[in-house]
């Protein structure tokens, strides 16, 4: 599905991401765990194309998208839920969802109904401005906006940040559900281990821009990962 090979990303002279390689397949959730400032967001931004890598490649279904613009990657099947949600605060909930929808898609109405069925609260608030929603609702909106672009790969950057614990469980359940029903590959970065340990099929730990540790579901070494995450 998505395959990242020896990716290096830098801001000017300061290198952030070093030789990162990872794959994610259909119906698989890959979690990238790490503390603040370890390169999680930089990795995500380079996957969606907001940052250009210095070297390395990103392939989606065998197509090299490394040099592509963000909107082209979205059309090819990558969707992005950024850290801090970044919904369009002045647009209504409905308009926010519409921005992610390809106007030429034959299944426009169906996709719309699907996300409203998945997030009832968004339907109730469809005429409100996005900026007036609570943090958890904004997170749902950001996920809905990403899902209507019919992605093959969904990127989520710290989806639990600033969200209350009961909603965090809902988000975990939701990610499992859409992975199964939509045949998605999901890459999620996190600091909260309790959130990812339930859903991740594979887990990486990123430290100073390098993958330091890898576990697969069933044999996740929680103690070791906690040690990486503690400050």
């Amino acid at each position: 599905m998505i395959s990242v090979n020896k990716l290096n990303v830098a801001y000017g002279q300061s290198a952030i991401i070093h030789d990162i390689s990872l794959q994610a397949e259909e119906k698989e959730i890959v979690a990238v765990m790490g503390k603040n400032g370890m390169g999680k967001t930089t990795l995500m931004k380079s996957l969606i194309g907001l940052l250009r890598p210095v070297s390395g490649s990103i392939e989606l279904d065998g197509v090299d998208v490394t040099a592509w613009e963000s909107y082209q990657r979205v059309a090819q099947g990558i969707a992005y839920v950024p850290q801090g949600r970044q919904i369009f605060s002045q647009l209504t909930v409905e308009e926010n969802i519409l921005t992610g929808l390809d106007p030429k898609s034959p299944q426009k109405i169906q996709l719309f109904e699907e996300v409203y069925a998945m997030f009832n609260v968004l339907y109730d608030m469809r005429k409100r401005k996005g900026g007036n929603l609570s943090g958890g609702q904004q997170q749902q909106l950001a996920i809905a906006r990403a899902l209507v672009s019919e992605p093959k790969v969904l990127l989520l950057d710290e989806p639990t940040e600033g969200i209350q614990p009961s909603i965090i469980k809902d988000i975990a359940r939701l990610l499992n559900e859409i992975k199964e029903t939509k045949n998605l590959a999901i890459i999620v970065t996190e600091q909260v281990l309790s959130f990812t340990v339930d859903i991740a099929d594979r887990m990486f730990v990123i430290e100073s821009g390098r993958f330091q540790h890898e576990d697969v579901r069933g044999s996740i070494n929680e103690e070791k990962i906690k040690a990486f995450l503690s400050v």
């Binding site: 909107y71 002045q90 992610g100 390809d102 672009s149």
Partner: protein, 313 residues
């Protein structure tokens, strides 16, 4: 000089007529301001580009109308009553195309340096002005207006409302409604509003923001072209015709609150009314001083302009 003294020497009925007619003549000014400011506000709102060449797109639209008028008079005099509607459309297309070329060849390289665009578009403005001067000469041109745009309407004996002014007003209302509809009901409008709010994120949800920029810039210029076409009904065209309006238009945009359509309308209306009515009683320069002082005063109290949107956060 007290404000009451300047009104003395007129009867009540005369004053009412003066206010009505000056009020109406200011509606013509309002219409030109509004058409210019709409384009400028869209471009500034979308890309933070200060387009100093905006006036020249008005001039381009006006010359398009003059050319069409000359051709109609020469080859198809029978069409004279109808050509004006097509001239407006042609003016839009010419200004749109010109804007598209300017964006493609110059402005798009400067998005990361918004202040440099001020200088660059000023250069474009001078190039276009000299271009007009080379092609059309320095003298003033005017379009042959169809009969239905001439003359006045007399609601009472002392009040005369010019028909060209009415037409100008009608056009600006139609164009404003059209802009509103496009901005709030079309896919392009949605993309524009999303890009204004968060350019990076717009790209990351699948919007080709560079293409939106190009269309938006060209569209804003196209509206200035329409302003130019209807401008020919109230004035003659010279190479510098548009540049006379650029400063006033900027004041309208800033005063209205950048990015707010409704604010732009209120602001164009207020400034045009104030200026026009004051011009009758004071000299032109003093009227301008009065308007600018009012604008400065209000902007000191409301730096965000007349209208701005608020949400939680």
């Amino acid at each position: 000089m007290g404000i009451t003294n300047i009104f003395s020497g007129y009867t009540g009925e005369e004053l009412l007529s003066i206010f009505t007619m000056q009020g109406f003549s200011s509606l013509s000014l309002f219409s030109v301001f509004l058409l210019m400011a709409l384009g400028l506000a869209i471009i500034f709102g979308q890309m933070k580009i200060i387009n100093m060449a905006h006036g020249e797109f008005l001039t381009a639209g006006a010359y398009t109308t003059v050319i069409m008028s000359d051709m109609v008079v020469k080859y198809m005099p029978g069409l004279l009553p109808y050509y004006f509607i097509f001239a407006i459309i042609a003016a839009f297309i010419v200004a749109f195309a010109l804007g598209y070329i300017v964006e493609l060849s110059l402005v798009r390289f400067l998005y990361k340096r918004p202040l440099d665009t001020l200088l660059a578009t000023w250069g474009v403005s001078m190039i276009l002005q000299q271009g007009f001067r080379l092609v059309f000469g320095g003298r003033e041109d005017s379009a042959n207006l169809p009969d239905w745009l001439m003359g006045s309407w007399y609601p009472t004996e002392t009040i005369a409302i010019p028909l060209n002014g009415l037409f100008l007003l009608g056009t600006s209302v139609v164009v404003t409604l059209l802009v509103y509809f496009l901005l709030f009901r079309s896919r392009w409008g949605l993309c524009v509003r999303a890009t204004v709010l968060n350019r990076e994120m717009s790209n990351a949800v699948g919007i080709n923001s560079k293409r939106i920029d190009r269309l938006t810039f060209a569209f804003g210029c196209g509206i200035a072209g329409v302003a130019g076409a209807v401008f020919t009904t109230i004035g003659s065209v010279s190479p510098a015709a548009g540049s006379l309006y650029i400063v006033d238009t900027f004041i309208v945009v800033v005063f209205g609150g950048a990015g707010s359509l409704l604010g732009t309308i209120f602001s164009a209306f207020g400034i045009a009314q104030l200026q026009s009515i004051m011009e009758f009683f004071l000299t032109g320069v003093l009227a301008k001083v009065f308007v600018l002082l009012s604008v400065v005063g209000i902007l000191m109290i409301r730096p965000q302009g007349l209208r701005s949107n608020k949400v939680r956060e």
